[in-house]
Symmetry: C2
Subunit: 107 residues, 2 copies
DNA sequence: CATTTGTATAACGAATCCTTTATATAACTA
DNA sequence: TAGTTATATAAAGGATTCGTTATACAAATG
C-alpha cells in the first residue's frame, strides 16, 4: 500500500468530493458548486484523486465527468482488512495476558 | 470518516510503523531501530498514529509498548466498503451505458 | 469566425508538516 | 542517591501543501 492513496484522502475537501461522487458521476463544475472554493482548486484536488487511483474521468465534449474508481477503494479496504487479520493472528493470545496485567493503560 | 485518520497513514514512515506493529507489540526504541531516523521523530509519528486511533499504548515501567488499534483499522475498512457499495448501487446501470459510448476514456 | 463555456496550468504567498538537535522527565540500577 | 535508560517536549529550519488570481486552450454556440 502506497501512502499516496492515503494522502489523497487526507484532505477534507477531497474526502467530500469522493462522497459527492458516490451519489453519481459529476462534472468539474458540478463538483465545484457546493464547495465555496475556486474551480482551479477543485481541479487540483481532482487531479490528486485521479493520480491516487481513486477516481476516473472520461471525455464528453468540453466536460470531464468524474466517477469513483472502485479498484482504488478496494485496495484500501483490503489493506485495512489484512492489517486487522495480521493483528488478530499475532495478538489474540497476548490480549488475554494484557487483560490480566495490573498495569494501567496509557491515556 | 475524518481525514485525520487518513492523514496519519499518508506518511511512509508511519505506514511502515504500522506494518512493524502488525508483527507484534513493540517499544519506541524497538520501533526506532530500523528506521534511520531520530527517536524524537518516531515519537512524534507515534503520537499522530495514537491521536488518529490507529495505535494504543500501555505503560511498562519506563517503556511505552505500542500495539495496533483494530477499531481504527475497522473504521477505515468500513468506510471503503461503504463507498464501494454506494458506487455499485449508483453506477451498475451507468456502467453499461458508458461501455457502449464511442467516447474514449480520459487517461 | 467571434464569443462563450468548461477545464487546466502557472505563479505565488500562507500555512502546515517533517526532521533535527537540545533538553526535560520519570523509572530503573548500582 | 547518582547515573543511566526510555521516552517526551521544545525550538527552528526546510520542504510540502493548499488556496488564490491570472491566464491558456479546446469545444460548443451563435
Amino acid at each position: 500500500m502506497t501512502p499516496d492513496k492515503f494522502a489523497a484522502l487526507a484532505d477534507p475537501t477531497r474526502l467530500a468530493l469522493l462522497s459527492a461522487l458516490a451519489t453519481g458521476e459529476k462534472t468539474v463544475n458540478e463538483l465545484t458548486a457546493p464547495f465555496d472554493m475556486s474551480q482551479p482548486a477543485i481541479s487540483r484536488h481532482l487531479k490528486i484523486l485521479q493520480e491516487a487511483g481513486l477516481i476516473m474521468r472520461r471525455i464528453d465534449g468540453t466536460k470531464r465527468p468524474c466517477r469513483l474508481a472502485p479498484d482504488g477503494l478496494e485496495q484500501i479496504e483490503a489493506w485495512a482488512n489484512m492489517m486487522r487479520r495480521t493483528y488478530a493472528a499475532n495478538y489474540d493470545r497476548l490480549d488475554q495476558v494484557l487483560a490480566n496485567l495490573p498495569e494501567g493503560d496509557a491515556t
